[in-house]
Amino acid sequence: MERTRIVFSGSGGQGVITAAIILAEAAVIKEGMEAVQSQSYGAAARGGATRSDIILSNEPINYPGVLQPDILVCLTQSVYTQYAGIIRPGGLLLTDPHFVKPAKEADAYQVSVPIYDMVMEKIGKPIVFNISMLGTLFGIRPLFNPNSLMEVIAERVPKGFVELNEKAFTLGLELGEEYRQDF
């Protein structure tokens, strides 16, 4: 696998950091890849802008920052405005119309997927939004076996919530597949 650089961005409380950790952990523990995950870390917590960088590779990873992501997820208008320009030409730019009104043009495969509305309609609990976002991303572009992600999610959440998260992940996966594009 080529080196894949990913940036998840949004606001504190949306679960973008947790989603980033789950993705990178699954790559390392379940897929035997190399991965690093870092995050911008400030005094701001809930409501502040958050960003997490992930690099997946089969080679050792040294510098852990992402300058030009192959995959960029933006979950607020402000981080969209801030980061849309850094996407690698031809990369995947994923947003959600509930949070972001995307610009008409981007030098990337730009998809606006109504993940939030789907979560609220079919599950009714916004807490699993980030898990559905991960599912959607893997529906559009399966970076590795989605079951690996689900295994990590099951290990991380309390027993009583595994089923809920499984449902959120599967719904996201199915939603994302509608937007899949072959490269």
Binding site: V28, A35, V36, Y41, Y63
Partner: protein, 382 residues
């Protein structure tokens, strides 16, 4: 046997290394960006029969680990810049009383409370001279999780071998980075146990009477032997003395036991160094960017190498001279105003060929930052 693989922060790699080395006592006062070390040990130590104490401040924490070490425990405290400043007096006490202990300093921006949540490497000289008076010290560092684990184990080993405080100079970027860690199996890494006196109860024990090899066997304080421990210059019984001979001998001993063993203590890695015309000297998270750049430029035929230091103190002067003297230029990559650069300059024959590539704004120095500095000194413009 398959190894246990974890996906963890660098701070957790330090915790795993400490437990592997036999750490059974931690006292600390939480401070960003080192807090995870205390947090995880609060959960893990009791499971291993160890003790975790959150103290009222950093001074108390440092004092507590010194006391616990004297009773026979392998001990750790963790902090960052402001806390490291507070610990200096007690670190000096541990140097003077020759108490094995490990202090992890996950560096953030300073001086003062500085830049709590962002990376810096500004405590290099503080680790050496933060406490007053002539003494020597050991400080190790690491750029990745496997090395954090290894250096933490080594820190405990060196603390026991030389009866000295050992500083782990990590930094925010690698401390908070999540990455893969393979936990070595039991016995895979060498672990140095406490050297204890063989003298039985009822026989006088001299805590500062060296064996033939110069090492000082310890007796667990509060067990069968009574002895004195002091921060004053002392004789072989541990009692204060103002005798010039004793003072001179002890001071020389404190310095020589480390400075005479630089080779044994020095730890480093070479990346593409065989035919390097330009040498990047780096350490900690800065080294990740140096290695990244060298890997990339090698593909384009540039003869660029990286000398990654894993031990900072005692400063490996001879190693620096050996590896850097034939280079066209040496670029020290660090996140401070040139603290290590000055020591590299002092070590080489042509100090005007040593340059600094730094970043001091709280952002991790990037391969591009280093490349720009390199191109400037090569006269090729950025």
């Amino acid at each position: 046997m398959t190894k246990k693989i974890k996906f963890v922060q660098g701070n957790e790699a330090c915790v795993e290394g400490a437990l592997y080395a036999g750490c059974s006592f931690f006292a600390g006062y939480p401070i960003t960006p080192s807090t995870e070390i205390a947090e995880l040990l609060a959960a893990r130590l009791p499971q291993h029969g160890g003790t975790f104490i959150q103290m009222e401040d950093e001074i108390a924490a440092m004092s507590a680990i010194i006391g616990a070490s004297l009773t026979g425990k392998k001990v750790l405290t963790a902090t960052s810049g402001p806390g490291f400043s507070l610990k200096q007096e007690a670190i000096g006490y541990a140097c003077m009383a020759e108490v094995p202990c490990v202090v992890a300093n996950v560096q953030r921006g300073g001086p003062s409370t500085g830049n709590p949540t962002h990376v810096a490497q500004g405590d290099i000289n503080q680790a050496r001279w933060g406490t007053h008076g002539d003494h020597s010290i050991i400080a190790l560092t690491a750029s990745n999780h496997q090395d954090i684990f290894q250096m933490t184990v080594d820190a405990f080993n060196l603390a026991e071998t030389y009866r000295t405080p050992v500083i782990l100079l990590f930094d925010e970027a690698v401390g908070h980075l999540r990455a893969k860690l393979e936990i070595p199996t039991e016995g895979e890494l060498h672990v140095v146990d406490r050297l204890r006196t063989s003298l039985p109860e009822g026989v006088n024990y001299h805590p500062y009477l060296p064996r033939e090899d110069g090492r000082l066997p310890m007796s667990d304080f509060g067990d069968v032997h009574r002895y004195n421990v002091t921060g004053l210059f002392h004789d072989m019984w541990g009692f204060p003395t103002a005798d010039p001979t004793y003072i001179n001998d002890l001071l020389h001993h404190l310095v020589d036991k480390i400075e005479n063993n630089v080779k044994d203590i020095t730890r480093y890695k070479e990346h593409f160094m065989d035919d390097a015309q330009y040498v990047l000297v780096s350490y900690g998270s800065s080294a990740r960017s140096a290695i990244h750049l060298a890997t990339e430029r090698r593909l384009r035929g540039e003869r660029l190498g990286v000398l990654e230091l894993q031990s900072i103190w005692p400063f490996p002067k001879e190693l620096i001279r050996e590896k850097c003297d034939s280079a066209r230029a040496v670029l020290v990559c660090e996140m401070n105003m040139g603290q290590l650069t000055a020591h590299v300059r002092a070590a080489v024959r042509k100090p005007n060929r040593v340059f600094l590539a730094n970043r001091t704004d709280g952002k991790l120095i990037s391969p591009l930052d280093i490349k720009r500095s390199l191109r400037m000194i090569q006269g090729r413009g950025v």
